[in-house]
Symmetry: C2
Subunit: 223 residues, 2 copies
């Protein structure tokens, strides 16, 4: 069985690999994500390579093997189903549930996971809009535009909020920017780094381009 540390390294390796075109994850990125010094990541990656969970390409980075990816997807599935449970069933604040799920993802058995999945009705995404890996190990990563890049003056539907910090999520919540919410970009001022947004029957408000880049949207079909 993978230890908690191993599960965490693999999970972060997966998340970083998903954002990398060739699947190669630089050591430094993994170390940053894990909040350890680079040497620690090197040590652990070599151990993971010995266990056949990753390939270590010295001085270049690491790649998940099929076995490593399987473990990582299972942990990610637990994380996101737990978040969904905490929000949908226990009615907890979506800004807090990430931290809770970080612990629970390592304590939940596959048996509990299955029951949780059934209780929640086999959801496809978690409360932040992040896709929940299937039992079979499929990760549906549809690509959307963000509020920093999408067209202006058309009705949009928020599909995903990719920032787990409680502060950001509380801000988003306060402006109704949860997945499913409808809004449109009133104006985008690149020099000022500002995006102005408006929700139906709401006042316009601004957020930084950096923040806008973490809110993913699709054209609002109904709107």
């Amino acid at each position: 069985m993978a230890t908690i540390a191993v599960e965490n390294y693999l999970k972060h390796a997966l998340l970083l690999a998903e954002r990398s075109p060739d699947g190669l994850v630089p050591m430094g990125e993994l170390a940053t994500a894990m909040e350890v010094v680079p040497g620690t990541a090197t040590t652990m990656v070599k151990a993971l390579a010995d266990s056949g969970l990753v390939l270590h390409e010295p001085r270049r980075g690491l790649r998940l093997t099929a076995a490593g990816r399987r473990v990582a997807l299972n942990v990610l599935r637990k994380h996101r189903l737990v978040e969904t449970f905490l929000v949908n069933v226990l009615e907890m604040d979506w800004a807090q549930v990430h931290a809770e799920a970080e612990q629970l993802e390592h304590a939940i058995s596959d048996a509990v996971l299955d029951r949780l999945d059934a209780l929640l009705g086999h959801p496809a995404t978690d409360p932040h809009g992040d896709p929940i890996p299937s039992v079979e190990g499929t990760l549906n990563s549809a690509v959307y535009a963000t509020l920093a890049t999408c067209a202006t003056e058309i009705s949009l539907r928020v599909v995903r909020v990719t920032d787990q910090s409680a502060d950001f999520l509380t801000f988003a919540e306060a402006h109704g920017l949860r997945p499913g919410a409808v809004a449109h970009v009133v104006d985008r001022n690149l020099p000022a780094g500002l995006v102005t947004l408006r929700r139906p029957r709401g006042k316009p408000f601004a957020l930084s381009l950096a923040a806008a880049g973490r809110i993913w949207v699709a054209p609002n079909e109904a709107g």
Copy 2:
């Protein structure tokens, strides 16, 4: 924050202390409960004593301090509320939930615990009839008779089953011996070490005195 190992030592120390008249827990008992060699228990108890969680009386045993007892009760509360959740909400088999809760009890925050408690309606006991410590740290340990010691030929209500092994619980379940079940002792044959039981509209069946001693009962008020 207490580590998982520390939480486990304190939890087992509490359970053993509850069954000891003077609250003194011999080292060997703790080591057996924790499934470690005696020397390991000694090492850990000294560390716990340094943290002010237990008192170590060399060669005699240990006692929980108020701080240690507080931590232990919190872990036990998590364990038993999680078991209740797994059975009542996720509809899992009561024979499995102990093992699951052993992991989850260390991963659940107090915030999640509170929500879980509310969802379950603030239960007083878990699915095995074990009392759930209150938030304030009260452990209601009412003393009952067991099927090995109770009066015969009177209607009884099962209140508690104090064996966490899946085999025993599956056996108990198969005969309907869950808390709340009604039964009476038909016969007790001490030389043979057998207790014969009968449930309403059921066939009589036998179990060993040792097994009977793990099923706690109260007189059945309703008849």
